[in-house]
Each structure stands twice: as C-alpha cells, then as structure tokens.
Amino acid sequence: MNGTSPEIMTIMAAREIHNGDIVFCGTGISMLAAMAAKNISAPDSVIFFESGAVDALLEDLPWAVSDSRVMWGANSTGGLMDAFATMQNRITGNRVIAILGAAQIDIYGNLNTTAIGDYSKPNTRFAGSGGGCDVASFVPRCIVFMHHERRKFVRKLDYLTSPGNLDGPGARRRAGLPPGGITCVVTNMAVMRFDEDTKEMYLDRFYPGITPQQVLEHMEFAVDISRARPADPPTEEELRILRGKCDPRRMQL
C-alpha cells in the first residue's frame, strides 16, 4: 500500500475539504491535511486558526496555533474574538470545516478532550476544550483524527467536551445548536461517518489490508459495516504533493 499511516490519514482528511471551504485547524497532521487540500484539489480553501490568523502562508511548520509562523504572509491577523465570531457567524461559519483530535469519541461523534476518570479528580487530565467545543458547536462539518483503539471509541465518554450528535436524532436542535458538529472520523484503519437518520457512526471506508471486522475489534461499541467499502488509497500525485510541498523537511510525517 502506498504511503505511511499518517500520510494516508492526511490524504483522507484532505479529500473532505472542498474548494472555497474555510478550514479550521490546529498544528500537526490537521494542518498538513489542510495544506494538502489546498495544494491538491481545493486551491481556494482558506486555512484559519483560532488564534486569529486567516489564510496563513505557512512556509514553515508552526509548533502551535499562536506561533509567529501563522502570522507571516497571512491575509489578516486579529485575535480570538474575531476568529470565533467568524465561525459562530452563520454566513462565514457555514463555510467552515474543522479538523480536530480527541482522547475519546462515542457512537454519536461526541468528543472528550478534558479528562479520563472522575472529572473532579481525574486519572488523566487533558488540555481541555480549547476551541474544540466552540467549533463543534458552530460549524456544519468537523473531521476528527483518531487512533483506532477500544479505549478511544467508547460506549460512554468520561466527559463530553465537544458536541457531535449528542444523544441522537434531533438532539442538537433540542439543545439549541445548529446542525453539524462531528461528521467524519479519520483513523489509522478507516473512515467513519454518521447516518443521516440514526445519527450513529458507521464504517464508510476501510484502508487496504484492513477488514471491517478488524475495525470493529478496535472499538468498544459496534457500528454498521453494511455500507463499508475499501478506501481509494492515496495516489502517487497526492503523495508527491504532500511530501514535496507540505512537509518537505519531514517534520511531521
């Protein structure tokens, strides 16, 4: 199979990005996916950071979204108030696609990035919401990068940080949220999506060398695999651009 696991994940996520999308991303692999999309198929997509930078050039890879590297050559640099308003705003917000990570995900695509164990005295504390809860609340499409492990695909989150479909059909509307939230999960084994009616996760594409059954074995909850088909592996062209243009110094991949 072509490409390393991070490379495949990056390309799978990049394919979700349409031309003209505003891509909310963090650093690391999520930023590489945004850069790959921009270089391959979505030249007019706009990379956007919660720290306030719009359409950064990203000639060097930043360590954090606050890094001076996101400021150089950007279209504009404001602050957090501007950045989150752009996503909560229904006119620009509807064009945003976000790329997130999480410690846990449930069958409805809700995310935990806060704590494992009892919230008041956790076994493991994570960084917290950051802008994750905000963007999952506001925008119609979010991709989550996950490693496919049973302890990460869980029946019940220890803490619901960022809203996917909450507890199922109609739940976002009932809570007062606009439609959207987590719509796609890209892992080291597969791409998962959410059923329009049940709002539950299902297996959409599995990577070469992986079977649907293997995917299920790496999850605490079962999902529909009836629609699963093999993923189209990254093309030579996609990999050439990803390696040559997005991370030539191999700092991420």
């Binding site: 720290s51 890094d67 001076s68 909560q88 076994n123 919401s129 802008g131 619901l160 007062g176």
Partner: protein, 331 residues
C-alpha cells in the same frame, strides 16, 4: 498636552504593588507565545500564593505558576504547550492530584468572559457548549460560588432566546464577565504612559487588559509617546487602562514575541522533561527561577548565544532556522 505622569516601574516593584496572595489574575499570550514570563518568574520568586487565575490558552506561563505553587483556583479553556507538551505537565499533575480547583470553559467562552468584563456587562451570549458537560459539570460548587463575592454565582446560564427564533438561535449560553484584579501583558512596544502596541496576533490580550482593575505591561521596547502617536490606529491599548509599565527586553522568553524572537524549543522541551519528575523539577526551579534574582540574571544563565539563535528574521518575524532535536513527549 500629554499625560505627564510616568507609570514606569521596576518589575519587582510592580508585582509587589499590584499582585497579592489571593489576587484574581490573568496573563496575556497564547500557549508558547508572548506570555509575560519575566513577570511569571517574579511572582514565583516572590512566593505569592493562592492566586485565582483566568486562562484561555496561556500555556507556558500558567504551567510555571502552577509548578511554583502560586495558583489554587483555575478557570481555563486549554492547558497545552505546543509540541513541548500536548497537555501542560504541571497542570496535569496538579489537577490529577487535586492540588488546584479547576473550572472548564471553552476558548471562546473565556474570551467572551474577558470581553464582557471589558464592556462592562454582566455576561455575553454564545451558542458554544449547548448540550455538553461544560454546561452540566461544574468544578466550583454552587455553595462555594455563593460564599465568594469575587466569583459569579453560576458557572453559566442557558436561556431561551427572548427574540424567539431570531438569528436561528432558539437558545443561548450566557457566560459571566470576568474583572481580574490584575492582568499582566508582554508587548512589543509601550510608552511611559502605558499605551501599548502589539504586533501580530493579539489573542485575547486587549479584552483581558480592558477587563482588569490593574494592568502591568512588560515591553520589549519602551518608546516616547510621540512615536506611538504617529500611528494611533496601531495602538490597541490606550494608557487609560494601564497601571504600570516595565521595560523588560526578552521579557517573554522562553515564549515567542513576533518580530523580536522565537520561542526556545530546547528550553521548553527541557522544561517539559523536568516537569515530569519532582526531583528534576526542583533542580530546574533552583537553577532558573530561585537561583537568580531577576530576569537579566535569568537571561545570563540561559546564555546570550541561545538568545542569538532564536532572534527573529526581520522579514518573517520568527527564527527561520529554528531546529529542535527532541520532540518531547509522544502525542
């Protein structure tokens, strides 16, 4: 016709004057950028305790303050330190061991809370966090909140939109204003009156400053008011909000200052390593914090050579050849 009063002070004096045990505080910057580190180390060195901190994503500074035992309560959106620590190490430890009380919000919510304080309103609305545990789980109990007049009686409030379905929002979350006793910022330029010019991303610094009863500014360059008044549109914080100005070059080191210097990945990775081990961490603190008496001595200990290596490229605003050899922890 300029304000004739100078607010210039020594940093040690400014911290001693405005920061007390139990003060409610915030600091500027974001993760590994423009944290007022000279002030952070000064607070640790002065042994100030029981601070109540308001944080969106200020990483390095907060983790050092927690490591220094200065913070007892923390309202926070994100505790990460770039590639040096996906989750800040001392923050993680302190929460897991119950050493600090934590209240979780989102980054936008913390920003709105500072903005509400700056605007003089009791709350601002958002749709963020509806249906999540940010609403359902409170780190500070309602009893604790009712007892302490310095914190809002409720973490947040969900209300139906009184304008019906106007703006397609049937319901919103109201987050309470923050008015810290003191906020400390590090900026590229300030004048003796306290007017600030920030270059590059402003994060939530402007809202934090305007929300605060007192603002201490540390700056790379202390300039004449006339210089800043040549381009008043570039001065984000007018002097009317500022209590003290301290001239501290490299005052954000080891975090980055756009157009001045970069973060120091070696320092931050070494810090993250030390932070994982109690003995190593004491050694680190003894060497870099308690073993020096001010930021100048701290910088000498770091070494002028290292400071030269992270100097910003004048065009790009960061060190274009910055290398790091150790990625710190696994993600």
């Amino acid at each position: 016709m300029e304000d004739s009063r100078s607010k210039v002070m020594d940093l040690d004096e400014a911290v001693r004057t405005f920061v007390r045990d139990g003060s409610h505080m915030s600091i500027g910057g974001f993760s590994i950028s423009r944290n007022p580190m000279a002030a952070v180390y000064t607070i640790i060195r002065q042994g100030i305790k029981n601070l109540h901190f308001y944080v969106h994503s200020n990483g390095t500074g907060i983790d050092e303050l927690i490591g220094g035992g200065c913070i007892s309560r923390l309202e926070i959106a994100y505790g990460g330190n770039g590639k040096a620590a996906t989750t800040c190490i001392r923050f993680r430890k302190a929460v897991q061991e119950g050493e600090i009380q934590v209240e979780d919000y989102s980054n936008y919510q913390m920003t709105l809370r500072f903005a509400a304080g700056a605007m003089g309103v009791p709350f601002l609305p958002t749709r963020s966090s509806l249906g999540t545990d940010i609403i359902n789980r409170w780190g500070f109990s309602e009893e604790m909140r009712q007892k302490d007049p310095k914190i809002a009686g409720k973490k947040l409030v969900v209300v139906d939109n009184p304008f019906g379905s106007w703006a397609d929002a049937p319901r919103v979350v109201l987050v309470p204003a923050i008015n810290p006793d003191v906020t400390i910022l590090h900026v590229q330029k300030a004048d003796y009156q306290g007017t600030c010019r920030i270059l590059g991303l402003t994060y939530a610094d402007i809202e934090q400053a305007k929300a605060s009863r007192h603002v201490i500014v540390t700056c790379e360059e202390l300039v004449e008011p006339g210089e800043l008044r040549e381009n008043p549109g570039l001065n984000q914080i007018p002097f009317i909000h500022v209590s003290a100005v301290c001239h501290v070059p490299y005052g954000a080191y080891p975090t980055a200052v756009y157009r001045c210097y970069d973060y120091d990945p070696d320092y931050l990775i070494a810090y993250a390593k030390a932070a994982r081990d109690e003995r190593l961490f004491r050694t680190y603190q003894d060497q870099f914090i308690y073993g020096v008496s001010n930021h100048g001595e701290f910088l000498e200990r770091v070494g002028r050579k290292r400071l030269g290596e992270i100097k910003a490229d004048p065009t790009r605003g960061y060190a274009t050849n910055l290398q790091w050899y150790d990625r710190g922890e696994a993600p």
